[in-house]
């Protein structure tokens, strides 16, 4: 294990950024979100919850898939040197398709919390199974995840309900596990990728024999996690195979009413992975991009025939059925929620997945 003093973190960021693109929590205009670190940026690993989750690292909100442009082929070129033929040849156009660039360089995601790391596993089940998403896959192959333990979990956190351990990032599928204890960051490489990153910046580290210290920190965090108000939230009745029972429940009609139909919960969620594919009209063609979509929006999965979900009750139900029933049904019982609590903090109307689970428990 290695350590580095908190006040030297900026040199660590600079050193990492010297070899890799560094994606990490950065404070801008008073809020902390993931972004690419560059000299002068305010790296912030003290804030427990970034507003947007770490999912942008692998699945950005907007991503260019390819561009198509129409090239006009002059008649004389099309017709060769034959002037008479050229005069009778209509202008021809050719469509050029340029694929978006896949990520081909290693990059580092720094300071990811164990819940957000678990969320990567949730997304992997979607994007890395057939048909494999090449854009996502290239990012996953090149991303090096440095996970950070949650020194002081907050009341909106309920990750332990989904088996996430906020105290021990080495249990998460990360490449490096870190702990911030008494002004020092402790660093332990977990994988080959993690070792390679460590070797690049090792000159900034001190060797640390800190196993006891880390164990003490883990015990402290576990003690806090047990006291969180939603630590005992029960998922009984949810999971694979519950589609009929839950879909037909009358509880939905009671819980959705305050929903504004905005996309806050879906966009701050680390596991929401629905997207739309759209064309942006350019001078001579289109830019085809994909962007996060929200099942809360009225045009979600709208098709020419108009048959998408027509009411907010249906949209609201879809979001929670997807997370707590459909996804587990298709993924060996794994839930599509990691208990990060961002929706708990950010819903404008104070609705959230915890309230939904509790409402069903009360109305059994």
């Amino acid at each position: 294990m290695y350590s580095i003093a908190k006040e030297n973190l900026n040199s660590l960021y600079a050193a990492i950024a010297g070899s890799y693109d560094l994606f990490m929590p950065i404070k801008t205009a008073g809020q902390t979100n993931y972004g690419f670190w560059k000299e002068g940026a305010e790296g912030d690993i003290d804030t427990l919850k970034t507003i947007r989750s770490g999912k942008d690292a692998f699945f950005p909100q907007v991503e260019q898939l390819y561009t198509v442009n129409r090239e006009i082929v002059p008649a004389d070129v099309a017709a060769g040197d034959d002037a008479e033929k050229a005069a009778n040849t209509p202008i021809r156009t050719k469509l050029n398709v340029t694929p978006g660039k896949l990520v081909d360089q290693d990059f580092v995601i720094f300071g990811m919390r164990p819940c957000d790391v678990r969320a990567i596993e949730v997304m992997d089940n979607v994007f890395l199974t057939d048909p494999v998403d090449s854009y996502y896959k290239s990012r996953r192959e090149h991303g090096i995840v440095v996970a950070l333990a949650c020194h002081e979990p907050e009341e909106s956190c309920f990750c332990t309900v989904f088996g996430v351990d906020p105290a021990d990032p080495s249990k998460a599928k990360a490449d490096v596990a870190t702990w911030m204890i008494d002004g020092k960051l402790y660093w332990k490489a977990l994988t080959e990728k993690g070792e390679a990153l460590t070797a690049k910046v090792a000159n900034l580290f001190e060797e640390a024999d800190a196993d006891a210290k880390v164990e003490e920190e883990k015990a402290y965090i576990e003690g806090i996690a047990k006291q969180l108000p939603n630590a005992d939230l029960s998922l009984e009745g949810w999971g694979a195979g519950k589609t009929d029972e839950k879909f037909k429940s009358e509880v939905w009609d009671k819980v959705y009413k305050g929903c504004l139909g905005c996309g806050t919960c879906t966009f701050v969620c680390p596991t929401c992975q629905c997207y739309d594919i759209k064309d942006y009209t350019t001078k001579d063609g289109i830019q085809r991009y994909r962007c996060w979509d929200s099942c809360m929006y009225s045009d979600f999965t709208l098709m020419a025939g108009g048959q998408n979900r027509q009411t907010q009750l249906q949209r609201f139900r879809q979001r929670f059925m997807h997370k707590l029933v459909y996804y587990p049904t298709n993924n060996d019982g794994m839930f599509m929620c990691v208990g990060c609590g961002r929706c708990v903090e950010k819903c404008p109307q104070s609705l959230n997945i915890v309230k939904v689970i509790k409402a069903f428990a009360e109305n059994k």
Binding site: I51, E155, G258, C291, D293, D299, P348, Q349
Partner: protein, 325 residues
């Protein structure tokens, strides 16, 4: 609060209204949610305290279409929004029973988070009748904050303690204003155009296009928003370039100009803490300067300066560059 609950139950029992719109207790001490109440037992979960900041007036657009009257709890500033909705023929006054509820300023849990308060188990001192500091019992010990330090920014520029429309008022209100409403706008006006652009760019680049500001805004009551048009390149959910969001927010600000009552819901709900109210407040300040003082929603009969014409109106050329002075 009990007086309010009793009265709402009574109004339902005697047939004056069929249902009430108020706030339902949350599962945290700070997250009550807007909700409907019909049966006496529904009121077991009714709450009205410092965290009931949501402006319920917009819910009356839909509730007003339901069979029978609906009672709605409106704080003094919410009544301006309701009046404006009447002016725009978006709510049915006949079908509404307005309970003006007392207010001593509403609270913002983000203010506590910014002050480092976390692991909250319970909160005291947020009752509507209360007075004094707010105490947080947390996993990390007891913390205190002054009520005013925890108030939403909008409450520091309070419109006053009077409800401008109501059927009856329950509870006392207090004018919590202690700041100049246009101070922030003036600060931005004094910036150079480059500084101003940089300021808005850094704020708006945080936008995630969740549309919470639009969906909560009582002035955004279009049946179908232009940004929900699927044939439009700048559609709701994507920011094609890193600053494309500006278009959404600026179009929205123009669209609500002269109609925005400055209720502050846009900034309250923004997950990224963007001070969206500043756009609207700039328009309000300009309207005051160029057409005389006007408060949208104060009088449902009043003609809005932007939908009126007189030969004395300001010429565009005289308005250009006004921010640089």
């Amino acid at each position: 609060m009990q007086e309010l609950i009793n009265r709402l139950k009574e109004l339902i029992a005697d047939g004056t209204v069929v249902r009430a719109i108020g706030w339902k207790k949350g599962d945290m001490p700070y997250n009550p949610e807007p909700a409907y109440f019909e049966k006496p037992e529904d009121f077991d979960n009714f709450v009205y305290d410092g965290f009931c900041g949501a402006n319920l007036s917009k819910m009356m657009i839909e509730a007003g279409k339901l069979e029978g009257k609906t009672a709605v709890c409106l704080k003094p500033c919410d009544t301006y929004s309701f009046n404006q909705l009447i002016r725009e023929h978006r709510v049915n006054r006949e079908n509404t029973y307005i309970i003006g509820v007392g207010c001593r300023g509403k609270l913002d849990i983000e203010k506590a988070r910014k002050a480092g308060i976390k692991g909250i188990k319970s909160i005291s001192g947020i009752d509507i009748e209360g007075d004094g500091d707010v105490t947080f019992d947390t996993i990390y010990g007891e913390k205190k904050m002054a009520y005013t330090d925890l108030m939403l920014d909008r409450c520091h520029v309070c419109k006053g303690k009077d409800h401008v429309i109501f059927d009856e008022v329950i509870g006392e209100s207090k004018d919590t204003g202690d700041a100049d409403r246009f101070e922030e706008v003036i600060k931005i006006e004094k910036m150079t155009p480059e500084e101003r652009f940089a300021f808005f760019k850094s704020e708006l680049s945080k936008c995630i296009r969740c549309n919470a500001c639009r969906n909560v805004c009582p002035a955004c009551s279009c049946r179908k928003c232009v940004f929900d048009n699927t044939k439009f390149d700048s559609q709701q959910k994507a920011n094609v370039d890193s600053f494309e969001e500006k278009m959404f927010h600026i179009i929205r600000a123009f669209h609500v100009a002269g109609r925005c009552t400055d209720c502050g819901e846009c900034s309250r709900v923004c997950p990224e803490g963007i001070p969206l109210h500043l756009f609207n407040r700039k328009f309000i300040k300009d309207i005051d300067t160029f057409y005389g003082e006007f408060q949208a929603g104060k009088d449902p009969e009043a003609q809005s300066p932007l939908t009126d014409f007189t030969f004395d109106d300001l010429e565009p050329k005289d308005a250009v560059g006004r921010g640089d002075k």
